[in-house]
Every structure is written in C-alpha cells, then in structure tokens.
Amino acid sequence: MVKVIFVLAYLIFAPFVGALLDGVDRIISARMQRRKGPKLLQPFYDLGKLFSKERIGVNNVQLFLNMSYLVILMIAGSMLFAGADLLMVLFILSTADMFLIMAASSDSSPYSNMGSSREMLQMMAYEPLTLLVAVGFYLTTGSFLVSDIIREDISAVLWMPGLLAGFMFTTAIKFRKSPFDLSTSHHAHQEMVKGLTTEMSGTTLAIMNIAEYYEMVLLLGIFFLFFVNSTWWSWIVALLLCAVIFFLETLWDNVSARVKWKTLLYSCWVVTLVAGGVNILILMLDK
C-alpha cells in the first residue's frame, strides 16, 4: 500500500517538483550572476506555452520516440519509488536515454546528430559509476532492493563516501549542467545551437522537458538513498542534504565553463576508478 502511494506520488508530483527545482535553479543562477532572474513558476509557464504551440516537426517519429523516453523514465522512477531493484532501475534508465538519442538522430539534422553523438559519449562517461553505485549499495546493505536499503540502521554514505563524491561529479552530466553539458544545455547560444534538442519544438520539446524533470527527481531519489536509514529524522536530513547537493550542482554550473569531450570522458572515468573503484575495493575487503 505504501509502495503504491509512493509510486503515485512520484508519477503525479515529480514533474511539479522538477519544474519547481528548475525555477529555483534559474533564480539562484541569476542571483549568482547578479541578475534578478525569472519568476519561480516560469518553467510552468514555459511548458504551458510549449503545449499551446502549433504542431510542427521534422518528421513523425520524433514525438513517439520522445513519448517513449518519457514513459520509460516514468517506469524507471516508479520502480525506484516502489522499492525495486536499483540495478534494474539504472539499466532501464539507460534504455530510456536510448530513446532520446534515437529521437535526436531520427533525422539527418547536423546539429541534432552531433548532440546525440555527444549524448552517447556522456552515457559512456557516467554509466560505469552508476553501476558501481548500485554495487556499493549491494555491498553495504547486502541487497540491491531499494526497500531494503532504506531500512538499514546506519546511512549508506558512511560506507560509501567515495561513491557519493563520484556520483555528485557525474550527475552534472545527467542534470545537463556545465562543465558537462555537451550534448545540449539550457542555453541556445552554444556551438551546436541546442544540440540534442535542436529539432524538437512545441509538444515534443515539452515532453522532453517533463521527462527530464522525472529524471531529476529520480536522481535525487538515488542521492536520498545515500543518507536515509531506519530512523524517521534521517528522512528529513536526507531531503535537506539532497537540496544541498542540488545547490552545489547549480553552483558548479555557474563557476565552470564547458569542457571538451576528452576532458569529460577521462575525468569521469578517472573519478569513477579512483573514487568509485577504491571505495568498492575497501567495501569488498571489509564486508
């Protein structure tokens, strides 16, 4: 029963939470740049406008691929919030991303195709660490099941600080934050126009945005798992720490410039190896 409530809550509220976080992110970023920034609810207005637009597109398949992206992300998120297997969640998450890549490269658009190539590279960069995070949880708690992980007596982060640091590092890719916003960014003035989303407009783009909100909440959910334990107050602490992490990502976004793909790939892999690999090694030796 609790599971059903969690899943429903995720399905219903995740886009709202995601959009609100996006609004907060834009305000904080603006303040960091000494601007006033948009209203908090600006993302909602944007979405509303996107949905009201005339339906144009470069082909007929992009919409359906984006919708698949959205629905599969929803499945992945629901599994996480239902307490299912973390590793499976991550696998399905990358399958979802595959649909986004297909959508972007579904037409011979140069910018969009470049964006999708870069998105593949980004996946290659962050994928090892996400798998290691799941392995870390398994070693720490003896289970891949999220429902077991949240019932541990002590928070997992005590056993896996390296993995947390690595995950914070690579999640900048998933949040599409600088320095790792190679495939597309929130700003349309880069060398590849809008990269991945160049050819998306109106409803198609709105669906993509909503999917990204779902993904954002899913990732914050994984961060939540690092801190939560069987006590009730750990839930509040974990939520606060998730907010702090989100703030740090925003900060990092504003203080760093976009890197080249090689820097992205190698830095992510090295961080994975050093922070993640060593952490896993210690866990294996100790547990």
Binding site: R55, N59, L63, S116, M120
Partner: protein
C-alpha cells in the same frame, strides 16, 4: 539416434561433392537442414520422454576408436600438406606434436573404460543451437552465395566445397557436444579447427590464406593444450572422461583444457584469428560466431566451470575473460566496418561468458548460459542481415547504412532487433549481465566488477551509434533494389521471432532449460533466480517493449506539419543539400563518431595482447609450479 545426428550432415557433405547442379543442391540443402532439425526434435522428444536423465553411451568402441585414430592422422597429413604447400612451419609442428601425443596415449596408456558419449541438458541446449541456428544459416547460405558470386566475380565459384564444409561443421559440432571421452572430443575439436581454416581460405586470396593460417595455428595451439590435457589425464588419473576432469579437479589438465577453450573462443591474446576470419563469405562468419566454433570453446569452459570455482585456473580464465570483454568493446568503437564491429562484439561478449565460467558458481554459469543463447541468436541474425545488406548496397560500411530504414526497411528492422537484442533492456542479455554483476560482486573480484562496469558502457556506445545510424531518416541519394532472396528472409525472420519469443518467455526458458542445466552441472537443486523475481522482471521488461508500440499509435493521431531541418538557414530545398561557402549546393554528409585516436586498434591491440599473454603465461607457470591458491 546419435549416429544420425552426426551422420546426416556428414553424408550430406559428401553428397554436395557429387551433385553439381545449383538448383538441386539448393533443394538438398533445404531438405538436409530440415532433416537435421527434425532429427534433433525427435531426439530431444525421445530423451525427455525417457525421463530427461543423463544418458551414457558406448562403453566399448574399438572400431570407432581406430577410425578416429585414422581420422586424426588424416587431419595431420592434410595440415602438413597444406603447410608445405603454403610454406608455413608453425601449424605443421603444432599439428604433428599433438597428434603424436594423442597417438601415444591411445596405444600405450592403460585407462579405465567408460562411456564415450553423454546426453544431458547442456548437450540438449547445444544441439538445439547447432541444429536450428546452424540449420537456418545453411538455408540462408543458398540464397546468399548466389548474390555473393554476382558481386565477387573475381572469386572462383567453389560452392559445393563451401556447402560440404558447412554441413561437416555441423556434424563435427554435434559430435563434439555429445562426446564425453576426451579423445573423441579432441577428434571433433580438430575437425572444427581444420574446417574453419578451410572456410576462411575460401576466396584463396592472399589475405584470406594468411588469415586462415593465423586461425589454424592459434587453434592448433589450443589443440596442443587439449592433447597435453589428454596425456596428463591418462598418465595421472588413468581416465579419459571429461566428468573425471571436473570431479578430480587436477589443476594442470584443467589449465590445458582452458587454454584450448580460450583459443577456440578467440579470447585475448588469441582474438586475432576471429577478426581475420571476416574475409570469408558471411555465412561462414555467421556460423563461426553463433552456432559453432566459438561456441565450442565456451561450451568446454562451461562444462569444466564447476571445477574452476575459486582456484588459480578459474582466476586466470576469468581475468582473461574480463580483460577481453572491456578491451574488445573499446576497440569495437573505432570500427566502421560492420563485420569488424560484429567480430569485436563477439569477442567481447564471449569474454563476459568466459569470465562467468571462470568464476564457476551457479549464478555465473546461469548467466553464461543465457548470454550464450542470446548471443547465438542475435549474432547469427546480425551477420545474416549485414551480409544481405552488403549484397544489396555493395558495401558493409556502417557509414553507408545511413538511413537504411528508408532504403531497405526490412533489413533495417531485422538488424535493429539484432542490435537491440545485444544490449537493450527488454532483452535477455541485460538480465544475464545483471546476474553476472551480482555474482562477480559476491565472488569478491573487484577487477571483474570494474571490467563489467566500464565494458557495458563502451558496449552501449558502439551499438547505439550503429542503431541511430540505421534509424536516421534520410532521403536516399539513389534507390537500391533489395536483392535479398526469400530463403535469406526466411532464416532472418526465424531468428527475429526466436529472439522476441525468448525475450517474452524468459521465465519459462529459465525454468525449463537453464535451471536444469545448472542443476546438472552443480548437482544441487537451487534456483538462481526465483520464479517470482523472474516473472516480475519479465513483465517489467515486456512493458518497456510495449511502450514504444503504444506511443507510436498514440502519436500517430496527432497531426504534425513537417518542416525542413535546421541548417543555419542555408537549406537548399529538401533536407539533403546546403549552401556552402562558395555559394554552391553541397550534399550533406553525416558521419558517426569513431574516436579512432583514442580507442583505435593501433593503440589498444598490442598492449591488450601483451597483458593477456602475460596473465596467461604467468598463470600457466604458477599452475605448473604447483602454487596453490
């Protein structure tokens, strides 16, 4: 029953030498493949009707033993003759050495007699793979070879020879998986080595001959390992049973057999031969990669895997497998030749299977068997579709497959299913990866965990970029005529259906086929994944499968006005041309991303071979030195 399984394809191989008419030969191939499949079905039904127990056959086989000895000598003479003709020394030495060793054992050593053949669940699975995938590849070949010789006028038409080899290969594979006596397995093992050598050299071009000898000496090295294992078993344990090798668990014979398995399954440092095998016509690649040859290697490793658990040999095998998994998948990124990508992906996937069998616990073997099944089906399908595409487009470059979905939609769909089967979530590869990762963590091998984490990321990269290339919509420059024949489509469709069915019926496959295999190998009754876990997983995965279809129909209902793509405002009418800086019309060309300078074979091949060779040599030295672990 068993004589028929081996005999039918062997007789057919002779028939093709006599019947020279192309049309009649086609019908014989269809009938022969059908007969093999029917025979296998009858055989399995008979076995299951008999209670699905382990059957042992032929305790005393004086005559056949002598025939096999003659066969071994004949193979040696053949290799020596060909080596002299093409002036190669290494294969000759290796061949003579191992034949002498085996003959020595046969004539001098006193061994306890035992059954020579055995049927259990693993054998049954292998028979199904050989009969159905191998059979359909034979059917596909009929159509393919017609197209092949229209394209390659310079190659001498030696089709009768080619078909003989295909069927002989199937016969040898049946013999290999059914045998239980080491000398018998060795005999069939040698036949597969020699046939693959002959098939690779089909075109008789200089490159083909060179590559075929490379394949020959590497596989003969494995054969030498096999021969040494036979000698050691005969002298040390006075038994030539494969089951004895497992139950006694003596490290040195195990190491030698593992070496044989590693060479056959093209693991580093021996992966060169499988890459070189690409010069042969596509059906032979399909056969080598999916139903036969490399599967013989992993079959042997899976057979001995219970004995590999937690010892030095297992450690060596799993390390080499893990290393191969990651290195081959990285090298695959830099390839634009579709067959090369497939070859690297085969090597890399076999690496994962080998790593699983090297760990040698229930979970990993469960995963290994699943990987093997899915790999066999999707790789056979991919090779066939690439071969058909090559005949149609005249190229197998992935760059030329841009927009294949518009040009040759049917082949693109089949290729797409094959690619998805290799790595995407609704398909079983992923579940096996999931189980394997868990088992690697349980076994406490951090290096393997890292290998699988990085390796699956690189695997994802090269498949995704291929898939997106296929599905990219592009108005074709020129229309092409699909020259793929009906029998080719029949075979590919069969594979696609099997793939989808295996995905849908995953829990049942696990319960009826894979669990019994693991149970028989390990002799206990623990299920790796409980039925409820599997069922929920299957439902989840199928839902992922259903979503795109549902979304497709939902999105169809909304009307979209089509506009040209964004090209900085310099579009030239349709989406194919843009205005270049001279103000002229230029054709748009989009290329995939190959990261050649980072992941190219030039940079990674030598280091990975050196590392793997070092692991192997040091490992063998440690085993010989008797270091216990």
């Amino acid at each position: 029953m068993i004589p028929f399984l081996i005999g039918i394809p062997a007789v057919l191989a002779v028939v093709f030498q006599i019947v020279r008419n192309e049309k009649i030969r086609g019908y014989i191939v269809y009938a022969g493949a059908g007969a093999i499949m029917a025979m296998t079905v009858v055989f399995i039904a008979d076995w299951i009707g008999g209670g699905a127990k382990t059957w042992m056959f032929y305790p005393r086989t004086e005559t056949i033993d002598h025939l096999m000895t003659a066969g071994d000598i004949f193979l040696m003479c053949l290799i020596v003759w060909l080596s002299v003709r093409y002036k190669r020394v290494l294969p000759m030495i290796l061949s003579i050495l191992q034949t002498v060793l085996v003959l020595y054992v046969e004539f001098t050593a006193e061994v306890t007699e035992g059954p020579h053949m055995m049927v259990d669940w693993l054998t049954i699975l292998m028979c199904i793979i050989i009969a159905f995938i191998g059979g359909f590849i034979c059917i596909y070949t009929v159509g393919y070879m017609k197209g092949y010789h229209q394209h390659h006028k310079d190659v001498k038409d030696r089709q009768p020879f080619f078909f003989s080899m295909l069927f002989l290969f199937l016969a040898a594979m049946f013999g290999l998986v059914l045998s239980q006596n080491l000398i018998w397995i060795y005999f069939f093992w040698e036949i597969t080595s020699v046939i693959s050598f002959l098939m690779i050299g089909y075109t008789r071009a200089e490159e083909a001959v060179g590559n075929s000898f490379c394949a020959l000496w590497m596989n003969l090295l494995g054969g030498l390992g096999f021969a040494i294992a036979i000698v050691l078993m005969a002298l040390g344990q006075e038994s030539l049973q494969l089951t004895e090798v497992v139950s006694t668990g003596a490290l040195l014979p195990l190491m030698c057999l593992s070496l044989a398995g590693l060479t056959k399954s093209a693991q580093l440092p021996f992966s060169t031969w499988l890459l070189g095998a690409m010069v042969a016509p596509t059906p032979s690649s399909a056969l080598l990669h999916s139903a036969t040859m490399v599967k013989a290697g992993v079959y042997l490793l899976i057979r001995i895997s219970p004995a590999l658990s937690g010892n030095l040999v297992g450690l060596i095998v799993s390390s080499i497998g893990g290393l191969t998994f990651i290195m081959a998948s990285m090298m695959a990124i830099a390839q634009n030749d579709a067959k090369k990508v497939l070859a690297f992906s085969t090597i890399s996937n076999l690496g994962l299977i080998v790593a699983c069998s090297g760990i040698g616990v229930e979970e990993t073997v469960w995963a290994a068997i699943f990987l093997m099944m899915f790999h066999a089906v999707s790789k056979s399908m991919l090779f066939q579709s690439v071969g058909a595409t090559e005949n149609t487009l005249g190229s197998r470059d992935i760059e030329d497959m841009h927009g294949l979905i518009i040009r040759v939609p049917r082949l693109a769909y089949i290729m797409g299913i094959g690619i998805a089967g290799m790595y995407l979530a609704p398909f079983g590869m992923l579940i096996s990866k999931w189980v394997a990762l868990k088992a690697f963590v349980d076994s406490g091998n951090v290096v393997l965990v890292l290998c699988i984490a990085y390796g699956s990321a690189t695997t994802m990269f090269y498949w995704t970029k291929w898939l997106s290339k296929l599905l990219c919509r592009h108005i074709p420059r020129d229309t092409v005529k699909d020259v793929t024949r009906k029998d080719e489509y029949l075979s590919m469709l069969f594979h696609a259906c099997v793939m989808l069915l295996m995905c849908l019926l995953l829990p049942l496959v696990a319960r009826w086929l894979v669990n019994p295999i693991v149970r028989q190998l390990f002799g206990n009754s623990k299920d790796v994944l409980s039925m409820s876990v599997l069922a929920t997983m299957a439902i989840m995965l199928v839902s992922i499968f259903v979503v795109p279809v549902a979304m497709f129909f939902i999105s169809r209902r909304s009307h979209t006005e089509l506009v040209p793509i964004y090209m900085n405002g310099i579009n030239e009418g349709d989406n194919r041309f843009f205005t270049n800086s001279y103000g002229e019309k230029e054709h748009l060309y989009l290329s995939n991303w190959y990261l050649r300078f980072e992941f190219g074979r030039r940079h990674l091949r030598i280091p990975s071979i050196i590392i793997a060779a070092a692991v192997l040599v040091i490992g063998i030295c440690l085993v010989i030195g008797g270091v216990s672990w």
